[in-house]
């Protein structure tokens, strides 16, 4: 009687790989085509943004925060502004909140269309990529017309927005809504009914409801698994409750129970495009007249923030990829933040999807990763420089450090400190 021999091989996907948009590394343990384990390694896209930020004042920081990532530049800036506004206790004019909602929904449109195209490309369906990205040009043009830029809109400032949306801008957005209403049936036809898409995306990389909850998944990844989370809805953020926002779950789009697979995440994105169009319509309808900024000039703002920011503020916003949190702590008399931290949605989603990939095939890896719309330039954050040698701290090191700290504070603490499942071993 012979023992069964297992031929497991480790195959790296990344840091540079044609299917990944940004440097990240996945080490797959394979048994033939079947995935036994996925190991995530991060830290290839570290730019020391936090370090740079501590050398800037609150207003200068907005330019930096906007450039964390090219896709959700508005979300970062918006969330950061909210955090500072909370720390300083600044009241934002209502018209500014509406304009923020409008630009945010436009950004969501363009981000979701981008991701749908990427999902198509990753299963070798290039026609879908080219046609969805063609559709995306419309929203990019409108964003350029109302903000002056295609990528970094610079719409938000602390205490309001920089630019007003005039009648011309309103007309452009109404045109855009009409345009997308006319082409959405085609996009739905492709992503919900095409046989190739259905064969590839159904039951690929299933993130069950329990895993989504345990790993703290957010955004379309969590909603695709059936979790009812949406920071705009649960927080009652800004004017969103008046606009009637609610989390889009897969059953609203497909009419089936959520499976938590790539198909459901795609369906959620399609549902959210519809919802964004509705929100835009309502926002344009209800937008009141009035001021758009709390402080008319930036130099006044810098001076005011120096006095007003005392203590800490947390900004939360539902970015297209999931819930984004910015934390700011400042001290009276200083125009620089003492502490600023951004928590991106990709980090928890990445580990949830890595767990969901176990048992699937190599062919699913790239499309599964694309389905959470990862933004690695947002995620890579922590680095320690010691004697000229760079050490990137990741989950495991941070866990070790936090265990040490807990032991130091309370030596009698009970419990098993070993991480559950896998993490980033380094």
């Amino acid at each position: 009687m012979t023992e069964k021999v297992e031929y497991w091989v480790k195959v790296p996907i990344g840091p540079i790989h044609p299917g990944l948009e940004e440097p990240e590394k996945f080490i797959l343990t394979l048994d033939g085509e079947r995935i036994i384990n996925v190991d995530v390694k991060l830290g290839y896209n570290l730019r020391g943004i936090q370090w740079i930020a501590y050398r800037r004042n609150y207003v200068q920081m907005m330019y930096l925060v906007e450039r964390i990532c090219g896709i959700c530049s508005f979300s970062h800036n918006h969330t950061y502004s909210r955090a500072v506004e909370e720390a300083a206790g600044i009241e934002v004019p209502e018209r500014a909140e509406y304009i923020r909602a409008i630009v945010g929904e436009l950004e969501r449109l363009h981000s979701h269309l981008l991701n749908l195209g990427v999902v198509g490309h990753d299963i070798g369906y290039d026609t879908v990529l080219h046609l969805t990205w063609l559709a995306r040009e419309k929203v990019m043009d409108v964003l350029e017309a109302i903000s002056g830029n295609r990528v970094n809109y610079s719409m938000v400032t602390i205490g309001g927005v920089r630019r007003d949306i005039d009648e011309k801008g309103k007309r452009l957005i109404l045109d855009l809504i009409k345009y997308y209403r006319s082409i959405m049936p085609q996009i739905e036809e492709v992503f919900l009914h095409d046989p190739t898409i259905e064969a590839r995306l159904r039951d690929a990389a299933v993130v069950s409801r329990r895993i989504a909850k345990e790993y703290g998944a957010v955004g379309p990844t969590a909603r695709g698994s059936g979790l009812k989370v949406d920071a705009r809805w649960s927080e009652g953020l800004g004017v969103y409750p008046d606009l009637g926002v609610k989390p889009v779950l897969p059953q609203d789009v497909t009419g089936e129970k959520p499976h938590g697979d790539v198909y459901d995440r795609t369906a959620v994105r399609i549902g959210e495009i519809h919802q964004s169009l509705e929100l835009l319509e309502h926002a344009l309808d209800q937008m009141p007249d009035g001021k758009i900024k709390a402080f008319p000039k930036d130099n006044v703002l810098v001076a005011k923030l120096k006095i007003m920011v005392d203590g800490e503020g947390v900004g939360r916003y539902e970015a297209p990829r999931g819930e984004l949190v910015h934390y700011v702590r400042g001290k009276k008399g200083s125009d620089k933040p003492l502490r600023w931290k951004a928590r991106e949605p990709t980090f928890p989603n990445l580990f949830a999807i890595a767990k969901g990939l176990v048992g699937n095939q190599v062919a699913d890896v790239v499309v599964a990763i694309a389905s959470i719309d990862p933004c690695l330039s947002c995620t890579d954050r922590v680095a320690v420089v010691q004697g000229g040698k760079k050490i990137v701290l990741t989950e495991k090191d941070l866990l070790k450090a936090s265990i040490e700290k807990t032991r130091e504070l309370n030596p009698d603490v009970k419990g098993d400190p070993t991480p559950i499942g896998f993490g980033c071993a380094r």
């Binding site: 026609t127 080219h130 062919a363």
Partner: protein
């Protein structure tokens, strides 16, 4: 005189065919890329881009990985040599150069050998992606060939019943064709077999559903992951030749008609006109099977593709074969 007829003419013909088919197949690749680009609302590369690519790759430095062994360098050359040898057995509007009794087996062997050499080169490179690609190629290869082999033997056997000089030779298609048998039953059988051959052709040239071994986004071009420079140029040329040859087979089984007879030509000029007309038919078939299929589908997982080939193509082949055989038996 004998030397002239048996050696010089075939060799000259083979060299001529090789030059023509290389140009035609690379030109087709350019046309395909342009057409697909237009379907995707892009401008697309120039028509001669594959030719430019070929010459550029041929002049580039060739990098051989440390982990590679001798077969890594031998495989592209062997694959191209096999493709050239295959041209002597490919019906291209006229009877193949080396047509003889039973050469269909040589044809199938050589066609499969190209894929075999590619696999050999890939597993000799030491790259994990190339190995995954090789495993996928092997799985697809053993699934797609049985359906095609069953169908082609059935057709050859049926045509042999009509009385030909060299049964089971690639030349029989120009004496009788599959539509001549006449009865409705065999007509339906022939249509089903056409479907089988179209599926086989798509999986042979690895487009659309079957772009699995070379999946660019998943395993970084799979079999070709480690190849560069001259070897990559050879492999790209081999791939283009293989697409032309595989399409030639389908064209000559189902659409063998030439136009030289209508133009009252004979000898070499008739062959050249038939070859050009055949090339046009190949381009039209490849447009349907390659360009349209590529633009309207994505790739499947390897398990799904294997299942499709066995459960769909092989089953269809079985039914078509039975329909064709039935009228002879009954």
């Amino acid at each position: 005189m004998d030397v002239m007829a048996n050696i010089v003419y075939p060799v000259a013909g083979l060299i001529g065919l090789y030059a023509f088919v290389s140009l035609a197949s690379l030109l087709w690749e350019g046309i395909d890329r342009k057409l697909v680009a237009r379907m995707q609302r892009r401008v697309g590369p120039p028509l001669l881009q594959p030719l430019y690519d070929f010459f550029k790759l041929a002049s580039k430095e060739t990098i051989v990985p440390n982990t590679a062994n001798f077969m890594f360098r031998a495989a592209p050359v062997l694959a191209l040599a096999t493709a050239i040898a295959l041209l002597a057995y490919t019906p291209m509007g006229f009877e193949p150069l080396l047509s003889s009794k039973g050469d269909v087996i040589v044809f199938i062997y050589l066609l499969t050998l190209i894929g075999f050499f590619k696999i050999l080169g890939a597993i000799s490179s030491g790259s994990p992606y190339a190995k995954i690609g090789a495993a996928r190629e092997a799985a697809i290869m053993v699934s797609r060939e049985p359906a095609m082999m069953l169908a082609i033997f059935a057709i050859m056997w049926r045509l042999g019943k009509l009385g030909v000089e060299k049964p089971f030779s690639m030349g029989v298609f120009y004496q009788h064709n599959i539509w001549e048998t006449g009865t409705p039953l065999s007509f339906v059988g022939a249509v089903i077999l056409l479907y089988v051959f179209v599926i086989w052709l798509a999986s042979e040239i690895e487009v659309g559903y079957f772009n699995i071994p070379d999946a660019e986004e998943e395993i970084a071009e799979g079999l070709l992951a480690e190849y560069s420079g001259r070897y990559l140029a050879l492999l790209k040329l081999t791939k283009a030749l293989k697409a032309y040859i595989a399409a030639s087979l389908v064209v000559s089984i189902f659409f063998p008609w030439g136009i030289a007879g209508y133009l009252n030509l004979s000898g070499l000029s008739a062959d050249i006109v038939n070859l050009l007309f055949h090339t046009l038919k190949v381009f039209i078939l490849l447009f349907a099977v390659q360009s349209v299929f590529r633009a309207t589908t994505g790739r499947l997982r390897v398990t799904q593709a294997v299942e499709f080939l066995w459960k769909n193509a092989f089953l269809a082949s079985l039914i078509g074969t039975l329909l064709i055989a039935m009228e002879v038996i009954m």
